[in-house]
Amino acid sequence: MEYVAKRCGVKFDPPSIVLVYEDGKTKKMRQRIMPVRNFSKFSDCSLAAERLKSNARHSAYLQGVSLQQLERLHGVLRDRLRGHTLEQSLAELRPDPDQDLNKLSDEELARRKAHMDVLFERNRKRKDDPDFVYDLEVEFPEADDRGTCSWDESEDGF
């Protein structure tokens, strides 16, 4: 690859995606600032991410950056346009494990599911994987040999 992406971030003014990459030929670290155009607080982040990734001038540099990451970064930019602080939008990206997902809107739930799907896909065994076993049985320690779970040690007498 000609350009090796190292890090990716945002700049708020003007709204831009910033890429730190290594130039494959010169082995030098460089920074590229890509302004996000025609982007408002009502914009669709996944469309905007796709647009940037396929942009004629930028696509060569963004080969090593996933669409999901670009989408998240656009989300941070959009949150800013909506008046959220950086802390607020980062907190949303780092989901609270105690949050009740039953109570989220469709859009928020879809976002959380997409986040979980990253781990799912990473650990996923597919049918065409050489070590795939359809009926994979694994025995775990018997109930008596298992330790107690901190989730059971709460005040509510669950």
């Binding site: 997902l101 359809y134 994979l136 049985e137 330790g147 989730w151 669950f158």
Partner: protein, 223 residues
């Protein structure tokens, strides 16, 4: 009913009375992986039937138990769990229940108590399996006991829809439990429902008898 879904009671569920048919329901919070478990079990062979007006997905599966062909309908929620409660018809005539939580999210484990309570209101006796899903995210959880299952006397399965650990075993065992429940069932609620149905039938017969009498009298009066 104040719900975003249509009335499930329009669905024909009498078919589940046939010997070779069982209904197995999935319960649990949003995003615990209920559909992913179904899909891992059925692989390419699945034909989900989206009943979006009912916020419900049906998966049909054919297998043999003790040399007999069995048709299994798996009922999966499609967002209805977000009302923290399911329509009574979801439970109606179910023969077994698969109750899932996410080992990475405590709240989904705590909410099992609510799901279980609702299940037992409608189906006091059907077999129920508790499923700890997503163990691939943290294998250490398999060394921990989840007291809820033990306290309720329910089997607990450690599974992963992603890498497939114990998924097929879970569903095969659920089908076996559903079949043996069906063959040996003298579920109290079933009895009550049957009584109620008979009672309604008798009432209907009485009214139709009266109508018959009236028409007879009318006929008699005719010249």
């Amino acid at each position: 009913m104040a719900r975003g879904t249509s009335d499930l009671s329009e669905l024909d569920q009498e078919k589940y009375d046939a010997d070779e048919r069982v209904k197995i329901i999935c319960l649990g919070d949003s995003a615990v992986g209920k559909s992913k478990l179904m899909e891992r079990f059925l692989m390419d062979g699945y034909r989900p039937e989206q009943l979006s007006t009912y916020a419900l997905t049906l998966y049909k599966y054919t297998t043999t138990v003790d040399g007999k062909a069995v048709l299994v309908d798996f009922w999966d929620t499609a967002g209805q769990e977000r009302f923290q409660s399911m329509h009574p018809s979801y439970y109606y005539k179910a023969h077994a229940c698969i109750m899932v939580f996410d080992v990475q999210r405590k709240i989904t484990y705590k909410n099992l108590a609510n799901w279980y309570k609702e299940l037992r209101e409608y189906r006091p006796e059907i077999p129920c399996i508790v499923v700890a899903n997503k163990i691939d995210a943290d294998l250490k959880v398999t060394q921990r006991n989840f007291n809820f299952a033990k306290k309720q006397g329910l089997p607990l399965y450690y599974v992963s829809a992603a890498d497939g650990t114990n998924v097929v075993k879970l569903f095969k065992d659920a089908i076996k439990l559903a079949m043996s429940y069906k063959q040996n069932s003298n579920d109290f609620m079933d009895e009550v429902m049957r009584e109620l149905e008979n009672f309604e039938l008798e009432q209907k017969e009485e009214t139709s008898d009266k109508e018959d009498n009236v028409s007879k009298e009318e006929k008699d009066q005719l010249p």
